[in-house]
Point group: C2
Chain length 148, copies 2
């Protein structure tokens, strides 16, 4: 099943995906693949000395899961050309054990001078089970047009 | 060894870290932990039908490695409170087999109304072996002040 082409999105349309449980094992796997071994994420004794009190997930793990959840909507399947940029704010710590979801809204649609593509900007919020916004921002995507 | 406190940075100072080899195994591990199974990253046959011609790393893997390389400078060890936000542009595909490095410059230093902390904004570029900029942007960090 193919997702939506650029022309099939409407400004202001809203979507959701998730939930996805984030575990301490995810945090350890993310540390291993990225090389970010900050003890804030891995060492409960060190984390206890910080404002966070216990290990938190890498902010980038939350953001990476957010972009994966965009894919889980199915909207961009085979129609996403590329993620071209983003603006993101980390508002609250993401503790392992949290189930996160994404809330999306189509914030901008811009046709391109080059044929076959258009620019879609998502307003995105990564939220926890209680609906608290942990991270939010804009995800900029290049989408295929119909027949391209 | 502790990194630098907020007051120990100067506007315009430049740093580098890397290189770090990005492998297809890294891409597969990143897909597994984030849940982003886009075949553009995992399936050579699908990737061959795209403008990229062969599998590329997730953009977010490049960005995540970029933030890990900031840590590799040692500058933020024990003095980083949190990454608070970022603005990022994905300029060119990151193909597995590439060795990436980070180039950093202190772009902004702002004292905080709250004691014990200051805001540091990095201008950052993720470059390949040839010095081509693959990704770039700004990373916003909250840093500890001396004695805090």
């Amino acid at each position: 099943m193919t997702g939506r082409y650029f022309e099939e999105f409407e400004l202001g349309e809203a979507f959701e995906a998730g939930p996805r449980l984030v575990t301490q094992e995810d945090v350890e796997a993310f540390a291993a693949v990225t090389g970010d071994m900050n003890p804030l994420h891995l060492d409960p004794e060190y984390a206890a000395t910080t404002r966070f009190e216990r290990p938190i997930a890498h902010g980038l793990l939350g953001l990476s899961i957010a972009t994966a959840l965009v894919g889980d909507t199915g909207l961009t399947r085979g129609t996403l050309i590329a993620l071209t940029g983003l603006e993101w704010t980390f508002l609250a710590p993401l503790y392992p054990g949290t189930e996160v979801s994404i809330r999306l809204r189509v914030a901008e649609l811009r046709t391109s001078r080059k044929p076959g593509r258009g620019r879609l900007v998502w307003d995105a919020e990564l939220v926890d089970e209680a609906g608290e916004v942990l991270q939010k921002g804009r995800l900029k995507a290049l989408m295929r047009t119909r027949g391209s």
